[in-house]
Symmetry: C2
Subunit: 425 residues, 2 copies
């Protein structure tokens, strides 16, 4: 809380009234702007739509002796497994290529853990008295919701610029009821932090009490730099193997933000034992995933080098948006001690830590002025941010002119909310 | 069992020895033929591969104001829901369009019933002391395996040419532990029987003790006639609604045998209340299914009339195969009282009821001679056919010349197995 002297309070009241006028002016424009989700823009979709034309000939559908159009190859086309292995730095035999949503593969792992148990489980998690799951926060609402939907107890772990607070993680995993943790190791959602090498090593060397403790390693932004070059990142699978717990980690990635969000391909990468175990369970659920789309992707994306070139083109669209967001935050908010943020080099979000107790009010004001943002609290387990502070900005969808307007509204609302609070206190 | 007199036995022995020679000759050909699964042939896949070219332009990806490439529209594109509603004779609001596998939608319903319960469940099925599931047999192995994988007790119900024995079904559903039944109402897998109107009505009017009893209505072959015209079939959803239990049925279908087995689209059709309930649960699991492929399908298949025209072309490829299978069964096996079969007008299978105690032996002999068939017992719960009699023939995959050879092997093996048994008895 900021101490506000009487003189300052008078001045604040004046500024507040000016800001109210600015807010009313923005509101009267009848805006309808969306910064709520990490959706690529139309420009990005058009950028990759040539992919639709790379597989139109009958003869092209057969690859490595497998007809991609027919049933079969549950773990994915050979070429698709090789593609992902190169991208993630693991072996093709450690990959399982799924449908259009890596979220679905994550859900399946948790769901199977609940109904059948995982490779090293003594029993299905639905037969455990209690299941607890670690949720580094701020984090990704859809992750938290999966584990919440199965009735697990969600435990928030503080995020730092180096990743989750590992002292806390190492302490909590001593509890055998703690069965896993959600991670977005590169350009974390929403802060854009990349886990340090030390953090990654401490993850690989965890010695949890639960034999089936599972690291859900959602490498969603593994090649999603929008500033600078591709940053290599350690392969968690071989690190866990070297540390003697090869089945402890499941890694996930997708092309949702490389090609099409709704029509990409996804991958689960983990130990061969886990792949064998999951393949058996998933074989009850489906005969195979969409291999035509897998082949379409491999033909279009080719390999890692070619994919990184494409990511540069996405970056050219994304970077100006992030630059504008950060520039406006700086211009409007810096020096006031009412908001903090990290300037990310990749990923899809900027996370603003507003003055405690003002996030909800800020977003309420935004909504009234026609700007939709991710709900306050969404970054935390159960949708409750105890500080009422974290706000996720998703600048990817709106065209840049709309984004500028949306950020004007946002900065106005954040200041209004902060000043309101300061005037009340 | 057939009474065999001494004189007959002598003659049988002679015929048996002749047949052994024929078998050895076939075996020496080193065949490698597959009649194991209902896979469409390459000819059928080529027939529909023009679909790959109908959606290559960026502008075409946007339909009804929705960009099929981006996230969103969990229940499917409007045009895809309308397409399926017309095909199945229900309302678009009663449909949920999924990914490439209707099996996955079926699995999801059972899995959600287990983990969360269904619309009218007092509790998740994993909290029930016992769950029993009815399995009309012979039936589809993948259905049975889903419910088996969750530890349900599978109860076989006899199939008749009119569908499952409804007296038995009506009796068994008095048990509140009986939570559902698997059905393939049109051209049942594997016998090719279509449920009679009376059977369908008795299903709709079931009064099960379990409030969440669920009919899993897998209308896999809803438009899959290969002989004669499309046969209209009652809409089970409106019948259940009229009978006062609108949430009792989930219907499923897909384009796996219309376009591509591995890259089609699927649908779940059920009451609006069930759609709302499942959409909420599935929204935790995925953001949306592959809408680009949904749009590709709607552009290619257009509507029911156009789809039925395409099915005529599939029929032109399928019919000669089924004709050959039935002709060879007749020529080789009729009059001997060692095998029975039904001649289907649609679907993907012919089911042969071999002399009890000879199905396994028949398929063992086939395998030795290089012909792969669906495992004996697969048509029954737990993979155990108590009569050891039912054999599923899947004639769709092999080219017709290979199929003829495979059927020669099969008829030879079936006779050998029967005669072996008769000579032993």
């Amino acid at each position: 809380m900021i101490a506000t002297s009487c003189k300052n309070k008078e001045e604040l009241q004046k500024n507040y009234e000016k800001m109210i006028q600015r807010y009313e002016a923005l509101k009267s424009e009848g805006l309808k702007l969306d910064m709520s989700r990490g959706k690529p823009s139309k420009l990005q979709l058009d950028l990759v739509s040539d992919m639709l034309g790379v597989l139109v000939d009958h003869a092209q559908c057969i690859v490595d002796g497998c007809d991609s159009r027919n049933y079969g190859e549950l773990a994915g086309l050979k070429c698709a497994r090789e593609y992902w292995a190169e991208l993630l730095g693991c072996k093709p035999s450690q990959t399982f290529v799924g449908g259009n949503a890596s979220l679905n593969l994550m859900y399946d792992v948790i769901s199977k853990a609940y109904t059948h148990g995982l490779t090293d489980s003594p029993r299905p998690w639905c037969r455990e008295e209690k299941v607890k799951f670690l949720c580094p926060a701020p984090g990704y609402d859809r992750h938290f919701r999966i584990t919440q939907s199965f009735g697990f107890e969600l435990i928030a772990v503080e995020m730092t610029p180096d990743g989750p607070d590992m002292d806390t993680v190492e302490r909590l995993v001593q509890d055998p009821a703690v069965k896993g943790i959600w991670c977005v190791p590169k350009y974390s959602n929403p802060q854009g932090y990349t886990y340090s090498e030390d953090t990654v090593n401490r993850f690989a060397n965890l010695k949890p009490a639960a034999p089936d403790f599972t690291i859900m390693w959602d490498n969603a932004y593994c090649i999603h730099e929008f500033v600078g070059e591709f940053e290599p990142f350690p392969d968690i699978i071989s690190l866990c193997e070297a540390a003697g717990r090869p089945n402890m980690v499941y890694e996930f990635a997708s092309t949702s933000k490389v090609t099409f969000p709704g029509a990409g391909i996804s991958v689960m990468a983990t130990s061969e034992a886990n792949i064998a175990y999951q393949t058996k369970l998933l074989g009850v659920q489906t005969i195979s995933y969409d291999k035509v789309n897998q082949l379409r992707h491999v033909r279009y994306l080719k390999d890692k080098a070619h994919t990184l070139e494409l990511m540069k083109k996405h970056a050219a669209i994304m970077a100006p948006k992030f630059e504008m967001v950060v520039r406006m935050l700086k211009e409007e908010l810096s020096g006031q001690n009412i908001a903090q943020w990290h300037t990310p080099k990749g990923g899809y979000f900027v996370c603003v830590a507003a003055m405690p107790g003002t996030a909800k009010r800020t977003l309420e004001l935004c909504k009234e002025a026609g700007v939709t943002m991710t709900e306050a609290g969404a970054t935390h387990p159960y949708g409750i941010d105890p500080q009422d502070s974290m706000i996720r900005i998703a600048p990817s969808l709106p065209p840049i002119a709309e984004l500028e307007k949306a950020m004007q509204v946002f900065c106005t609302c954040l200041q209004l909310a902060a000043w309101e609070k300061m005037l009340q206190d």
